[in-house]
Every structure is written in structure tokens, then in C-alpha cells.
Symmetry: C2
Subunit: 104 residues, 2 copies
């Protein structure tokens, strides 16, 4: 199993609509990807590790797929529509990474 993490840097003054992200965007991603998205999780950044510090990321999602190929097969055909929806909840550019799920 792999996970694709999409992490939005917590930049001062940036816009991020958590409600739209969790209630509209991510369900749309799942609907488009179908079975190739095994499941997904959504995080809302609260704080950094040290007291009084801000979180590194204002929001994150993690999309779980059987393999990189399965993710690409499910995401690729809908990439334009999914990426085109980003402007509806944020003006941030996310950091993405693919990880192996060692303990899931």
C-alpha cells in the first residue's frame, strides 16, 4: 500500500477553506478515483511541535492506493478537473510526496 500526501504550507495571509476541502474537494477526488483510492484522510493543522509555534502545514490529505500505478491510473484521467478545483479552497501550492505505508 502507498499513500500520496498532499501538504499545504502554512503561509501567512494565505487562504484555505477547510470546510470546502473536507466536504467538497476530497469527496470529489474519491468519487473520481473510485476503487483506485482505497481511502483517504484529512488533517487540519493546529500547532507546531514546540509550545506557541504554528503548524508547518495548514492542511493535509493522504490518499491510500494499492500501488503508485494504481494511483496514477485513477488520478491521471481526472487530474485537470481535480487540480482545477484547488483554486476554490486555497491559493497555496501544495507539497506532494509518495510514501510506502510501513505501518498503516
Amino acid at each position: 500500500m502507498i499513500k500520496v500526501s498532499v501538504m499545504y504550507p502554512n503561509e501567512p495571509g494565505a487562504r484555505f477553506d477547510h470546510a470546502y476541502y473536507a466536504e467538497k474537494h476530497m469527496p470529489m477526488v474519491k468519487a473520481k478515483m473510485g476503487e483506485s483510492c482505497h481511502h483517504y484522510t484529512v488533517d487540519k493543522g493546529l500547532a507546531g511541535g514546540a509550545p506557541g509555534t504554528a503548524p508547518t502545514y495548514v492542511g493535509m490529505c493522504h490518499i491510500f492506493s494499492d500501488s503508485v500505478e494504481a494511483f496514477q491510473a485513477g488520478f491521471g484521467p481526472h487530474a485537470a478537473e481535480i487540480l482545477g478545483d484547488i483554486k476554490n479552497y486555497t491559493d497555496l501550492t501544495p507539497v506532494m510526496q509518495i510514501s510506502e505505508v510501513v505501518v498503516g
Copy 2:
């Protein structure tokens, strides 16, 4: 539910023992924290979002707790021992953040 994410930046030349991390360190953390760690996940970075790019983080864990207070109550008494074990698997300094689990 909250999650505490511990993310190790993928710096060239750095040391990170994935086997020790998954098989020794994280089980020790869970054993020390007991019920205050609801569960945890472990990721191994594979790649960045764009083809041919490296992952931002070489490894990550996410520790799930009922609340920030529950995490602190479970982690605090064992912090010295847990943090003292980091040198056994890496010379990296992790980035930490606390997030609300919006979709878990």
C-alpha cells in the same frame, strides 16, 4: 482525535534506519504511551509529486491521541527516553506538528 506528525526531512547524506524506526522505536513509543497513543502509522518516503523528484521527508510517523492533553500526558513522562532513542536511527532533526483529524 488529534494526530502528532513527526516528519524527517530528506537531507542528502543523512542517516535513517527504517527497520529500527518501524521495528524498535515506534513500538517502544507505543509501549511507553500506552492508551494515550490510540494507534500510530509509519511512512517511508518514496518519491516527490513530480516524476524523478525526491520525497520531502525520508520517513514520517503519525501518533493518534484523543486530545493534545492526552498526548502530552502520555508522552511527557517518557520524553527523555523517547527523544534519546532518536540517535539510534537517525541524525536528522524532525519537523513536528499537531493536527485535528478531520477525516480519519
